[in-house]
Amino acid sequence: MFKFRNLAAFTYAILLYGFIFLPVVVLVLFSFQESRVPIPPFNGPSLKWYHAFLSDGRVVEALYNSIAVALLSSLVSVILGFLAAYSLARHNIRYSGIIQGLLTAPLTVSYLIIAMGLLITFNTLGIPKSLFTIGIGHVVINLPLCFAIIYSQMGAHQANIERAARDLGANEWQVMGLISVPMLWPALFAAFFLSVTFSWDEFIIAFMVSRFDVTLPVEIWSMLRTGLNPKTNAVGSFVFLVSVVFIFLLDFILFRKIKN
């Protein structure tokens, strides 16, 4: 009886994880395909499609664009999120409940709607579509997340520590720079890495508010229009690998924080 239950649980786990990870496995596997089509039978392994994408100027340019947009938009999101969290957690502000609601509300709106809204706004204001507008779009989606993560880590105990710093003669900027930010750095890093991951593989907003300079997911989309190709798999695997690295970094930092 006991063995049967274990077997059932095991089978269920295999099916479940298979369902989740099979597409990824297929994507990664056929990026090492030797022939021109990413369909069975597998006849690799070969790195030729990785070589092909790294020597494609358009793809590499899109890669650099993605990195720049992800890092800068995440940095802006974290700074704005921290400032918002600090003021709401530390000062008695009128209507703070409403402000908090407004700050986190974009989390409930689908990226498509946000993208459409941004497109209309940029058109009305006459702002040309560029990497800059993609960055703004990514700040719009990541700021609520950064705010929520950082705000949740600002407890009463830390408020008392900030009070102690003030008591010892620190002005508001010194309190923020020397006490609050160092004390909150795990939350700030977590927010930053999560933002980077989200920005890195975000497609809809990047697609709708960009024109000539595009990010990697948009580039992959335009590659897909010309049909399936192991090169697309290679680029996709690369995007996936980078996301995994950031998730591990995030996990590592949070894990270390909990251990302390």
Binding site: I161, A165, D167
Partner: protein, 339 residues
């Protein structure tokens, strides 16, 4: 000082001598911490003024006041070393780094923890954190040190040890200490002056002995140790002496009163005696008794007037519940409280 509709502290008029160890004592919600926050500059009083060293600091923010605070949860900076914590106030005041070093060592030596300078905060025990918080607050040489229930989180033995140390450090450096607690034993152990707060106002101020032996209010008498309260009426007075009539008899007190006034007499449990004394209260039946090491704590009822009394009898006395004993008091130990 008000929070919304609630008045937290009102009509407080308190002067503290330089170099005094003052304890603000009161139950939770009595306004003692609010008072401390007003002194530290964390709260702006809605009315009134705060003067330190003769200077009006009412509008001076916490960072610019000559006060520092030892917080209840210590509020040490977790991302700095012990030395970093102690140095923080000195850095904010722009003290040169060579002078910082000497001051750090001095302050840590004062609390006996100079060997822990390079440790991280999470490596310290509760008692050590407490001392580091003290060293950090004293490093900047404040005129007044504010202590917000600093010993509350420590176990009893460590608390007693820290009480002695606090007292000793205060005497050595001569800084004014203002210490908040709800523990009356702690207050008596360390204070030069005790300030009893209740319901946002000061009930009584004075030396521990005076407050314990001659409390001026019923609240003060009840909060500082135990007491028996007897309602009575002034039946005659002649300048310096007053005769009070109570359920257990008439007493002549060396206090001034007005004929016809309703007053309360307070008798401490330890002021009763079973040896023949000045004044007999008659036979009392012991209802309950418990041995506390230093004394027996009894509940007794006077046979004649059926008055319940809390009585504390000497360690060596043999008492059993149900027993009848004769109780004596010295009327000089009675305190008259005006209602």
């Amino acid at each position: 000082m008000c929070f919304g509709d609630k008045v937290a502290v009102h009509n407080v008029d308190l002067s503290i001598q330089q170099g005094e160890f003052v304890v603000l004592l009161g139950p939770s919600g009595s306004g003692k911490t609010t008072l401390l926050n007003i002194l530290g500059g964390f709260l702006q009083p809605t009315d009134g003024r705060v003067l330190i060293d003769g200077k009006d600091v009412t509008d001076v923010p916490a960072s610019k006041r000559p006060t520092t605070t030892v917080f209840q949860d210590y509020a040490l900076f977790p991302h700095m070393t012990v030395a970093g914590n102690v140095a923080f106030g000195l850095k904010m005041r722009g003290v040169s780094s060579s002078e910082q070093k000497t001051k750090i060592i001095e302050s840590l030596e004062l609390v006996g923890l100079a060997h822990l300078a390079e440790r991280r905060i999470h490596q310290l025990s509760g008692g050590q954190r407490q001392r580091i918080a003290l060293a950090r607050a004293l490093a900047v040489e404040p005129s007044v040190l504010l202590l917000d229930e600093p010993l509350g989180a420590l176990d009893l033995k460590l608390r007693h040890q820290m009480q002695e140390e606090l007292k000793e450090i205060q005497k050595r450096i001569g800084t004014t200490f203002i210490h908040v607690t709800h523990d009356q034993e702690e207050a008596m152990a360390i204070a030069d002056t005790i300030v009893i707060t209740n319901d946002g106002a000061i009930e009584d101020t004075g030396k521990p002995e005076r407050i314990y032996l001659q409390p001026t209010s019923r609240f003060a008498a009840g909060f500082m140790g135990e007491s028996n309260f007897l309602e009575g009426t002034v039946i005659s007075c002649d300048g310096s002496q007053t005769m009070v009539h109570t359920a257990i008899g008439k007493f002549l007190l060396k206090e001034q009163g007005t004929e016809g006034d309703v007053v309360t007499l307070s008798i401490r449990p330890e002021h009763f005696s079973t040896k023949s004394g000045i004044r007999s209260l008659g036979e009392a039946r012991i209802l309950e008794t418990g041995f506390f090491g230093t004394h027996h704590q009894c509940k007794a009822i006077l046979e004649e007037s059926e008055t319940m009394l809390k009585v504390r009898l000497p360690q060596k006395e043999v008492i059993q519940s149900g027993e009848l004993i004769e109780l004596f008091i010295d009327p000089e130990d009675l305190t008259m409280l005006r209602s």
